[in-house]
Structure formats: structure tokens, C-alpha cells
Amino acid sequence: MSAPTLTRQVFDIRDLNLWYGDHHALKNINFPINKKEVTAIIGPSGCGKSTFIKTLNLMINMVPSVKMTGEINFNGQNILGEKMDLVELRKHVGMVFQKGNPFPQSIYDNVAYGPRVHGIKKKKHLDELVIKSLMDVALWEEVKDRLTAPALGLSGGQQQRLCIARALATKPDVLLMDEPTSALDPISTLKIEELILELKEKYTIVIVTHNMQQASRVSNKTAFFLMGELIELDSTSTIFSNPNDSRTEGYITGRFG
């Protein structure tokens, strides 16, 4: 057995600044993200939560006008440095979007998509990955008889779990979730939350949420953003019981935001 690595950090973000054209959307963010923890990001609309989470897998690069300075160290490598291999990065940092967005293909093909684009061709290997991923999101029992059926025939909650399974199938280290339950009913939301609690045994999770209860239920750490600044980052219990900053307190007690 090797000793636990010295650094428990998966991500270490240093002095990150981001501009959309002239709009300064992230200001001097310093943000360590620990292994196998759930980090929740809260803050009022437009404060930069989605922008921040999209920098972690560089999906932000799809916006042409974006400029960034600072460092985003992922397992010790600065992904803002020269010529990051996006394919490799995104294989390790998966993402789940606000709205379940399965491809208009079969359930099986959706989950197998990631492994296939990363070069896995053997049917047996793919089968294993698909089954395991679907089990991980507790969807296997519900869909095992109709793996070849179109994914868009699933319910909203099932679609979202399918998308999580799809992200897990590439065996990522980190799972980014941008308001994964905001389009779901309470029961489906609960299922996803239970899922997050199980997944954190194996994965590092960063979740953006507008739902304070959700943040307090699922996360170890909570970060509060306000107008592009990281106001406070601490253990979830501290943030919700005894925040340092009066603005954090104001937000979580519902005085603004």
C-alpha cells in the first residue's frame, strides 16, 4: 500500500481571471478542489458559477471571445499552459449539464459513446462499461430490457441519470455538474442526490446548485460566488452555520440573491 499522496488536491486554481470580451466574469479566483469530495458552488444568478465550472474542463474554450489568465492545475499540470490535450482532459473531467441531453440514439449507444470515441472497440469491454455505468447511476434495473430503445424515450430524471452514466463511462476522476437537478421533479432530484452521495466514494464532484438544501445535503465544501468573485470557500457546515463573510450569510439566509 502506498501512503496517501501528499496533496489531496485534484484541482488547484490560482489567480484565475476570465473575460468575455470586455466583461470581467471571474476575478482572482483561488480555489483548491480536493479528491473524493463534493464541492458545491452557490451564488446568485450571473455570478459566474457556470463560467467557473466550464473552465475546469475547458468547455469555456467554445466561447470564442474568452480570455483567461492565471493557472488551473489539474493533477499538477496547468491546463491553461501551452497546448492542452482537450481529449485527454475531458476524458478525466466529465460533465453533466443542466438539462439531460442524451443523443438521439439508443440507451446503449449513449453510454458507449465516450468509450468509443476514446478508442474502445471490443464489444465485451463496451458491454462491461455500459452495464457498470448504468448500475452506478441506479438505472440498470430500469433499462436493462431496452438498451436498444431510443434514449429520448426515457423520463427526464432517467435521462439525467443516463447522462451521468454516459459521463462515468469514460472513467473520469472528476465529475462537474451544472445545476443537474434544476429541471427535475422532487423525486428524481432526491435520486440524483442519493447518487451523488454514493459517487463521492469514487469520484471528485463539483456541483453548481441554486438549492441551498441540496448544497448542504450533498457537499463537503461549499463555495460562495458573488459577481465573479469567490467570496468564501469552506466546509459546508461552516458556510451554513457560521459563515465568515456577512455577504455569505446574507445570501444563505435569503436576504439577497
Binding site: M59, V87, K99, F103, G114, R116, P150
Partner: protein, 324 residues
């Protein structure tokens, strides 16, 4: 007057009440809604009239072509089997006229499919280039090009084909130059803009989340295009190709200028040939109305109509599959 429009008025008033969701204050309603109702009614009559004219035009063309086209079989006793399967077309032979239209039917289909074979990959490729590879400048350049191609009249295509393409084929490929090959090339250029613009719409209307979902899984752009976007847009892309083929099938003038117009079944792509449309345009003028030959031309027209119905049905079917 008041009395006869009364039922209509009350009907509209009823609808109006529901729309406004207020208890009708009778006076005000009658007064204020009267003008609006008149405009409403006039507009409604106008658009209904347009629809009726369109529908009746379509129906009467169908009926007319149907009766005219069937006359050669019913009245003149031309055998339908002969018409569809014989390769001998000799209507002017007094002693032994022959009415086999197969070479022209074959020519129409051959030239259509061959043109689609060239134009479909090019058009879809251009659409992908415009929507996925270079959405900003690619579109800026290609869009006007496509629009220009649409605007060029078919006689110009035919003329260019005749003066440039036919000699080129004769000199460098072989044969007379007037050939299926020339016809298919001219047609493929003509249907390219149709396919490109509809395929561009199909690709462009794909939701953004499909791309995001694929890129977030580490797929490259090419993988995203090939494995997610093209399959998702497939019904739309097929619709584009079918519409292009419908246009190719019906095109007469440009094809006529380059295809050679012979009555024989072509045995190679370099052989001259003819299509239903070219035979109709070439012979409609000099045959006497009501003669057997003239009637068989109408029969060919009927085949064109039936084919265009078939194309429409195919497009319907494809677009019904689009909403999964």
C-alpha cells in the same frame, strides 16, 4: 343585411369574449369590436380564398393530366405494358407505330440518381463546412454562392454545358460528348444549391446541447460531426437529397441541351440518351393535339406527376421521422 350576418357576428363575438376573458359589456363590445371584426373577416376570407385557389389549381392539374395521360391507353389502345417496358419508340411509323417509353423513363431515373450521387456528398459537405467547421466566414462566402447558383436560369446552365462541358467530355472522356455523363454533371450543379441550403438548415437547427454533450465527453470535432450530428440530422439531410432529386427529375431544358436526345436505351454513361422531360419538350410542339403520339406525351407527363407525388410522400415520411 344585419340579419343575414347576425349569426356570424354572434359567433365572432362569442370567440372574442373567450379571448378577452371578460364579461361582455355589451355596448362597448359591439362598438369596439365591429371594426376589428370587419378586418378580421376580410383577412380570413382573403386567406381562405388563396388556399382554395391553390388547392383547386393542384386538383385540376392532377385531374387534367390524369385524364389526358390515360387517354393513350384507354382511347388509343396503346398497351400500358408496352409503354412502360418496351425500348422501341417509333410513333411516327404509319404502318407499325411503337410506343415504348422505357428508354426515357430509364434516362430520367438514371440522370436523377447519378446527379444526386454527385450533388449529395458535395452539398452535405458544404453544409457541414458552413455550420460546423467555419460558421463565421465559411457561411459568409458560401451562402451568396449558393444563392447565386439558385438564381441562374436553367437555360444558362444548359448553354454552358453545351459550349464547355460537351466538348470537354468529347475530347477528354470519350463519346460524342452529348451523354448521360454531361446531363448528370449539369444536373448535379443545378441541384447542388437545393441540397446545400436544406442540408444547412438541417444541420444548423440541431440543438447546441448535442455538440456540447459530445465535446464534453472528449470527442473531437470530426467525431462529433460523424457520430452525433450527422445521425441526428439524417432525416433532414435525406429530405434535402430527395428534394434535389425531385428537381433533377423535373428539369427539362438544360438536360435537353446536353444529353443528346436519342431514342435508344443507353448502354454506357457516355452514350447519348433522353429523358421524359426532354422528349416532352422536344415533341409537344410538332405533334397534333389529340393524336396518339401527343397523347403518349401526356402519359409521360403523368409519370412525372406520379413521381413528384412519390417524392412528396417520401419527404413527408422522412420529416415525420425527424421528431423522435
Amino acid at each position: 343585411m344585419q340579419i343575414c350576418i347576425y349569426p356570424i357576428m354572434t359567433y365572432f363575438r362569442g370567440v372574442w369574449c373567450i379571448m378577452e376573458k371578460i364579461i361582455p359589456a355589451k355596448e362597448r363590445l359591439i362598438k369596439s369590436s365591429k371594426n376589428r371584426m370587419d378586418g378580421e373577416l376580410r383577412g380570413k376570407i382573403l386567406v381562405i380564398l388563396c388556399a382554395v385557389i391553390m388547392i383547386s389549381a393542384t386538383i385540376s392539374i392532377t385531374i387534367f393530366l390524369g385524364t389526358k395521360g390515360l387517354q393513350s391507353f384507354i382511347k388509343n389502345g396503346v398497351s400500358l405494358i408496352e409503354f412502360l417496358t418496351s425500348t422501341h419508340w417509333n410513333p411516327t411509323n404509319q404502318a407499325n407505330p411503337e410506343y415504348g417509353a422505357l428508354p426515357f423513363i430509364f434516362g430520367s431515373f438514371a440522370v436523377t440518381f447519378l446527379a444526386a450521387l454527385i450533388a449529395a456528398p458535395l452539398g452535405i459537405g458544404a453544409a457541414i463546412f458552413m455550420t460546423e467547421i467555419a460558421p463565421s466566414w465559411g457561411r459568409k462566402i458560401l451562402q451568396p454562392v449558393v444563392e447565386l447558383l439558385v438564381g441562374i436560369p436553367s437555360v444558362v446552365y444548359g448553354f454552358i454545358g453545351l459550349t464547355v462541358l460537351v466538348p470537354f467530355v468529347r475530347a477528354h472522356v470519350g463519346g460524342l460528348g452529348f451523354s448521360l455523363l454531361s446531363g448528370m454533371i449539369v444536373l448535379s450543379v443545378m441541384i447542388l444549391p437545393t441540397i446545400t441550403s436544406i442540408a444547412t438548415d438541417a444541420m444548423g437547427s440541431l440543438p447546441k446541447y448535442l455538440r456540447e454533450g459530445s465535446y464534453a465527453l472528449g470527442a473531437t470535432r470530426w467525431q462529433t460531426i460523424r457520430k452525433v450530428l450527422i445521425p441526428a440530422a439524417l432525416p433532414g439531410l435525406l429530405t434535402a437529397v430527395v428534394l434535389g432529386m425531385a428537381r433533377a427529375f423535373g428539369e427539362a431544358l438544360a438536360v435537353q441541351m446536353v444529353i443528346g436526345n436519342v431514342r435508344n436505351l443507353p448502354s454506357s454513361i457516355l452514350d447519348a440518351s433522353a429523358t421524359l422531360t426532354t422528349i416532352i419538350t422536344l415533341n409537344m410542339g410538332h405533334t397534333t393535339y389529340g393524336s396518339v403520339e401527343n397523347n403518349t406525351l401526356w402519359s409521360m407527363g403523368l409519370i412525372l406527376l406520379v413521381m413528384s407525388f412519390a417524392f412528396i410522400l417520401l419527404i413527408r415520411y422522412l420529416s415525420s421521422r425527424r421528431k423522435l
